[in-house]
C-alpha cells in the first residue's frame, strides 16, 4: 500500500524543489487522431519504485498513452513530467531516464544478442569497458550469458522478450515502460516473463509502468489504472478495486434473460445488469441468493456462476461492458 500512495515520504529534496511527487506526473493528457479522441483528460501520478499497470481492452487508449509516454509521439494537450522533466520540452533528459520495451520486437534478428546490446549502448553514448560491464551484468541478470553469441532470430519468443528487457535496462533507466510485454507468449513464457519483471523490480530498483490486457499480469501490480474509451475510469491497487465490487458476483444465463431480469426485480427487489446476454448481480453473501434464485426460477435458468470478484468483474462493474466482448469488437 505504501508504494501506491501519492505522497511518498522518501522523496528527495530535489523532487521537493521541483514540486514533483515521484516518477511520473501526468496532467489532463489528451490525444486525437483527426476526429477520433483516443485519450481524454487523463491525470495520474506514479511513485518512485512503483509497479504500475494500465489495464484495458485494445482500443481503450493504452497504446496511445504508451506512445506519448515513450516520447514516440509528441504531446498534443495536457502535460507529462518524468522525474521532474517535461516530456515535451526536455525530451533528451527524459529519454536518458527511460527504458522502453515495445509490443513488437525491436531487436535486429540478424544480429547476435551481444551485438544488439552493443548497438543499444552506443546509441546512449556508452562505450568501452563500461559497456562491456553493463552488457555482462544485464546478461547475467536475465540469465542470457550463454546466448550472447546467438543470433536473435534463432531464439524462442520468450528468450527474445528477455533480450528486449536486457536491452531496455542496459543504460540504467530509472523508469521501465513496457507495452503489452507478454503478448504473443504462451502462458508458461508469460509467467516466466512476469517473474523476471518482479526480479528486476527487486534488483534494479526501477519504476515499472506497463500496459496489459492480461488479468493475471495486472494482478501483480501495486496499482492499476483502468482505461476505457480513452478515459482513466479507475486507479487503485487491484485488491481495493475488487473490494469495490459489491461482494460476490453472480452471473445467470437464461433462455429469456430480459424476462428473468424483470422477475428477479419483482420477486427479490433486486436490480441487475444485463451484460453480453447474461444477468449479472453483485451481492454480499451471494451464495444465499443463488439458492433462492434456483428455488424460485430453477426452470428458467440455464446456468449460474458464482465467485469472488476478479479484475474482469471490476471492469464490468465500472464500464457496464464485458472486457473480452470489447476486445472482440475492436480486433
Amino acid at each position: 500500500m505504501s508504494a501506491s500512495t501519492i505522497s511518498n515520504p522518501s522523496q528527495t529534496a530535489d523532487d521537493a524543489i521541483r514540486g514533483e511527487s515521484g516518477a511520473l506526473d501526468v496532467r489532463a493528457l489528451g490525444f486525437r487522431y483527426g476526429d477520433r479522441e483516443a485519450l481524454s483528460n487523463v491525470t495520474f501520478s506514479i511513485a518512485l519504485g512503483e509497479f504500475f499497470g494500465f489495464l484495458g481492452p485494445n482500443g481503450g487508449g493504452k497504446t496511445t498513452l504508451f506512445k506519448l509516454l515513450s516520447t514516440l509521439v509528441p504531446i498534443q494537450s495536457g502535460s507529462a513530467r518524468m522525474f521532474g522533466h517535461d516530456l515535451a520540452g526536455e525530451t533528451g533528459a527524459v529519454r536518458r531516464r527511460l527504458g522502453v520495451v515495445f509490443q513488437h520486437p525491436s531487436l535486429d534478428g540478424k544480429l547476435t544478442v551481444g551485438e544488439n546490446l552493443t548497438n543499444h549502448g552506443h546509441l546512449y553514448g556508452i562505450t568501452g569497458r563500461r559497456l562491456r560491464e553493463r552488457i555482462a551484468a544485464m546478461l547475467d541478470l536475465l540469465r542470457l550469458s550463454a546466448r550472447e553469441r546467438d543470433r536473435v532470430e534463432t531464439l524462442s519468443g520468450g528468450l527474445q522478450r528477455r533480450v528486449e528487457l536486457a536491452k531496455a535496462l542496459l543504460h540504467e533507466p530509472e523508469l521501465l515502460l513496457l507495452d503489452e510485454p507478454s503478448t504473443g507468449l504462451d502462458p508458461a513464457a508469460r509467467r516466466e516473463f512476469s517473474n523476471y519483471l518482479e526480479h528486476l523490480r527487486e534488483h534494479a530498483g526501477v519504476t515499472v509502468v506497463l500496459t496489459t490486457h492480461y488479468m493475471e499480469e495486472a494482478e501483480r501490480c501495486d496499482r492499476i489504472g483502468i482505461l476505457h474509451e480513452g478515459k482513466l475510469v479507475a486507479i487503485a491497487p487491484p485488491g481495493e478495486l475488487k473490494s469495490e465490487v459489491g461482494g460476490d458476483v453472480i452471473v445467470i444465463r437464461a433462455q429469456a434473460p430480459e424476462l428473468l431480469q424483470r422477475k428477479i426485480l419483482q420477486r427479490f427487489k433486486l436490480r441487475s445488469q444485463l451484460v453480453d446476454g447474461a444477468i449479472r448481480i453483485e451481492r454480499i453473501r451471494g451464495h444465499e441468493l443463488v439458492r433462492d434464485l434456483i428455488d424460485a426460477f430453477g426452470e428458467e435458468i440455464e446456468s449460474v456462476s458464482f465467485g469472488k470478484p476478479t479484475l474482469e468483474d471490476v471492469f464490468v462493474h465500472l464500464t457496464g461492458h464485458q472486457f473480452f466482448a470489447e476486445m472482440a469488437q475492436t480486433e
Partner: protein, 261 residues
C-alpha cells in the same frame, strides 16, 4: 559531436552486418544489373545505333556507366525500404526513443546504404575489362568517389520516401515510378544529343544527368573524347554534390516530422 559520430557509426555498422548476413540480398543486388547489362547491352548493340553516339565507342561501353547508376538505384531502393516497417514494428522503434536526433539516424542509415551500394559497385568495376573497358587506378578512384555521391543522393531520396510512406508496397511502387524515369532521362541509356527537344530539356533539368555525366568522365578518364560525356567535369560534379546534399537535408526534415502512429 563524439556522441553523434558514435551513434551514426553504430547504425552504419548495423546496416553492413545485416546485409552481409543475408546472402540472397547480396546476390540479387549484383545479379539484377548484370543481367540487365548483358542482355540489354548485347541485344541492343547489334541493332541499336543511337544517334549522337560518339565515334569509337560501342553501345556496351556507353551503357556501362548507366548500368552502374541503375545498380546504385536498386540498392538505394532495397536498402532503404526496411525503414518503412522498421520504425513501426522493428528495430528503429528503439532508436526513436533513444537520445539521438532524427538527423543522426538518417545520417547513419544513409552512410550504411551508401556503403552497401559502393561494395556492389566495386564488384561491378572489377568486371569492367569484360566490357572492353580498361580502367586506370586513377579512373577507379575518381569513379568510386562519384559513385559514392550518386549512392548517397539516391539513398537520401529512398529515405525521404521511406520515412513518409505507410506501407512497403506503396514505397516500392512510388520509388519505381519516380526513379526509373529519372534514370532513363539522365542520358544513362542513350545519348541525349539525338533525342527530341522536350526530352533534351527534361534531361537538362534532371540532376541525375550531371551525376551520370561526371561518372562517364571519371570512368573514361584516359579517353575523354569517347566517354560520351557532354558537360564539363567541374560543374557536373558540383551539381551532383549539391543534389546529394539537398536530398539528404530533405530526408532529415521528413524524418524529423515523421509520425509513428
Amino acid at each position: 559531436m563524439r556522441e553523434i559520430f558514435l551513434q551514426a557509426a553504430t547504425l552504419w555498422q548495423r546496416e553492413i552486418v545485416r546485409f552481409i548476413r543475408q546472402p540472397i540480398r547480396v546476390m540479387s543486388a549484383i545479379a539484377t544489373p548484370l543481367v540487365f547489362w548483358l542482355l540489354l547491352g548485347a541485344g541492343l548493340q547489334a541493332s541499336f545505333k543511337p544517334s549522337g553516339m560518339p565515334a569509337g565507342i560501342d553501345y556496351a561501353q556507353y551503357f556501362y556507366p548507366g548500368v552502374i547508376v541503375l545498380m546504385l538505384l536498386f540498392t538505394a531502393i532495397f536498402a532503404t525500404a526496411s525503414t518503412v516497417d522498421d520504425r513501426r514494428q522493428g528495430f528503429l522503434q528503439g532508436v526513436l526513443v533513444a537520445p539521438i536526433s532524427r538527423a543522426t539516424i538518417v545520417l547513419g542509415q544513409a552512410l550504411g546504404c551508401t556503403t552497401l551500394a559502393l561494395m556492389q559497385g566495386a564488384i561491378f568495376l572489377a568486371m569492367a575489362p569484360l566490357a572492353g573497358i580498361r580502367l586506370s587506378l586513377e579512373a577507379i578512384a575518381v569513379s568510386a568517389a562519384m559513385m559514392a555521391v550518386i549512392a548517397f543522393a539516391m539513398t537520401s531520396i529512398g529515405l525521404t520516401m521511406a520515412w513518409r510512406t505507410e506501407s512497403t508496397q506503396g514505397f516500392h511502387a512510388f520509388m519505381n515510378m519516380l526513379l526509373l524515369p529519372i534514370w532513363m532521362l539522365s542520358g544513362a541509356v542513350f545519348p541525349v544529343a539525338g533525342a527530341p527537344a522536350w526530352f533534351q530539356w527534361t534531361t537538362r533539368l534532371n540532376p541525375l544527368t550531371y551525376a551520370v555525366d561526371a561518372l562517364r568522365r571519371a570512368l573514361y578518364l584516359a579517353e575523354p573524347a569517347s566517354s560520351g560525356a557532354t558537360m564539363p567535369m567541374g560543374s557536373s560534379v558540383a551539381i551532383a554534390i549539391a543534389f546529394a546534399a539537398f536530398a539528404f537535408i530533405l530526408a532529415t526534415r521528413v524524418a524529423r516530422n515523421a509520425s509513428t502512429i
